[in-house]
């Protein structure tokens, strides 16, 4: 790829903007075409320009960076967006990717890492810095398989069985040595979890799902 890569930096911190510019100054193929202090400035800039890369800080004074990413993505499908942050939280990383981000780099990066991230996303690949990569993996590996099945708590299982036996709230409370209020909450929770408006329907769904 010989053409010049046009880069927009969005960060409210002047030192950080300087730092990034310094890291990129020796790369003739990378050209910084703009730097915005706020989301508003960035959006204005993007009205007329279409950079290849947007380096986006997610903590901006006027708008949340994740929202800005989503907003940019609605109009601009072309530019590759790389999140540039100091946080390493799985929710934020996946949140950015869900909103159209292409890469995620932590601010305490090496120069080489920044360059690699830009080159990677230009090839239509996702780039995550090593630490972010570990976080996302953690999220996928620890979570139970997401098969949308309803998980019942121990008490809910007990109460479901007793409801199936035709017992009423106060009777269940007595049987399980719980307060009727507690049982009522569990009952309401069960209805909500199964999206049922009546106990009959709840029991029917539970049976169909092999829970009874």
């Amino acid at each position: 790829m010989n053409a010049v890569t046009k880069i927009l930096i969005v960060d409210d911190h002047p030192l950080v903007r300087d730092g990034i510019q310094t890291m990129l100054k020796d790369e003739p193929s990378f050209q910084i075409v703009g730097s915005s202090k706020t989301a508003g400035e960035a959006l204005d800039f993007l009205e007329s320009e279409e950079p290849d890369i947007i380096l986006l800080d997610i903590s901006l004074p006027d708008m949340d960076g994740l929202q800005l990413c989503e907003k940019i993505r609605m109009k601009n499908k072309y530019s590759k967006i790389i999140g540039l942050t100091s946080t390493n939280e799985a929710g934020i990383i996946t949140g950015l990717l869900q909103r159209g981000g292409n890469g995620y780099v932590l601010k305490n990066m090496e120069r080489s890492e920044l360059l690699e991230s830009i080159r990677t996303v230009l090839k239509n690949k996702v780039y995550l810095s090593a630490a972010a990569n570990d976080k996302v993996l953690e999220q996928f590996q620890s979570g139970k398989p997401n098969d949308n099945s309803i998980v019942l708590t121990r008490r809910e299982k007990e109460i479901l069985l007793l409801l199936a036996d035709g017992l009423k709230g106060p009777q269940i409370a007595e049987k399980l040595f719980l307060s009727p209020l507690t049982v009522e909450t569990h009952r309401k929770n069960l209805l909500r979890k199964f999206n049922a408006h009546s106990v009959q329907l709840l029991l029917k769904i539970a049976r169909n799902n092999g829970l009874l």
Binding site: N108, E110, T153, R155, P170, Q171, N189
Partner: protein, 668 residues
Amino acid sequence: MKLCIGSVLLLWLICLSGMQISAQPISKHYLDSLVHLANNPKPDSNSLHAYIQMYRYFFDRGFYDSALKYASHALPLAQIIGNGKSLGQMYHRIGMSYTNLSNYDSAASFLKKALTHAHASQDTLLEVGCYNSFAYVYNYQSDYTTSIEYLLKAVHLIDASESPAIKNMLPQTYSSISYNFLSQKQFVKAIEYAKKALLIKGYPHENRYRVMLHLNAFDAYIKQKDISTSKKHLDSAIAINQSINNVILSAMVANNEGFYYQTIQDFSRANKAYLKSYQLNKSIGNRLLQSEAANNVADLYLKTKNYDEAEQYALEANAIGRELKLYQVVADTYDVLKKNASRQEDYKAALSYAELNKIYADSALNEEMHRITLSLESKYQNQQKEREIAALTITNAQNELEVMRRNRFLIAGGMGASAALIILGLFYRNSRQKNLLAEQDRKYQQEQIKFLERQQQVVSLQSMINGQEAERTRIAKDLHDGLGGLFSTVKMYFSTLQHETPMLKENDLFQKSYSIVDTASIEVRRIAHNMMPEVLMKLGLVNAVKDLCDNISAGKLMTVSLEVHGMNKRLNATTEIMLFRIIQELLNNVIKHAQATEVIIQFIRESERLSVIVEDNGQGFNTMETDDQNHSGIATIQSRVNYLNGKMSIDSEKNVGTTIMMDFLINE
């Protein structure tokens, strides 16, 4: 407050019919010898007799389970030893026991068998007894019309009979008819039958029945607002009662007296009378009536502003009521407790009592609705049959006179009207129930408003905690954007420097500085994250808790799963932070103490209600132990839950696990 005078009368009827059969008293000692007799390895007519005696002993004292047990034991003996007559009587006894145990299907089937045997052995006394018992079965199911039909059959048999024993059943039968009319609110008819019965003289236990009949009349008159006539009947009942010594009856009279004084708003006398009824019922161990009486006493104490006494009796009535599943009594007592608590400005307790009151009132209403529906159904089915018969008649008459045709329209119209009435009635009940529920909701909301007003007073504490979290947020942001940015930038420069001056790679001092800056920036990130996770701010509670769960699960010591329903809308920031801290704290507790392998965190939101549950499968702990390490953690959590106006309950079982349940009202 609903008065329970109706059910008291009804029970009295059954007690009396039991006593009609067994006049002689039986001591406990005698009972022991009966058990001995009955357990004779070679059963004979003595064992049968012993079983019957034991059945009577328990039936008269209201222990219907035991009564049923002994009657059932006696049944095979009666089949072998006894004749058709004694077998019929045994079926009748079993039927009566089932009636009192509210098992009406079984009751009806045994009474039917008894009736067959009564027919076969031409035992008219038993037949009359069976009709009377059927009348109870239907009365208990609120089908008063059918009940009266059976009683009229009994009256018909009694009228046709010459036997004095059968004739003596007439006052009892009239009394039951009167009671059924009373239940139907047909007060004129109720009075008519009570008076008919009062005219009869010279039969066994006459005074007992007279007391009861006067009480029936009293009830009918007072409900017609004829206070002076009602007072006359009450006075007669009191006078006759003094001449006989029957505790149940005295309790009955005292209860009616209480009702009278309550109606004329003489609360101190009403209270005295209810207290007497309470003591009498307590003395004979009738817990059902004792609970109802205590309920009345509590209500009256509340009216006369004797709050401590009110609470004491309400608690007693409540305990028995819950044990015996008297939902209305339990609901009523929670109402008293609620009023008391709000008077003492304990609005939290008041709110919880109000909720309990609502739950039990709902249960009571459901039972009542269930009974009404049953009776409406049977009435509807009767109507249906009548309709079919009428339709047949009409077809036959079709070709006859024009007049007949007009009649047919009249009948059809009438039937249509009556069907419409039934439907209207159903709608009415339905809407009435809705109104009742709406009313309850309104009261409940008022309670909540009061409760929230109270909470306003601790607003200074809240703003302190609020300030603390706001401070944390600010520091976290400063660390991230300020210090974090600085360290990052230094690192960027170092990194560029190293790129431009490759020999720096060999420079030890430079490499040390480089790595320290790197460590420092990671450290800043860690501290800022602990102060306030960014994901909590930006993406909300659920995402933050999900991260937390994944973090812990990644450690492989335990799996934390998250169940979320109805949380699409974010809560306000303060609530989210507080809930996050609570979950953090609870998970810390689980990790430190529970030795669990699985944890479920559950958020369920339904309009204003938010239920949060953290459940583990760990070793559990004793929720009563106050010096436990667990407890200090729990206290912190409890204060946070309080801050959100929530309620927390802990349900822990040794070696099974702990469920912590929190309920919040989200009002935005």
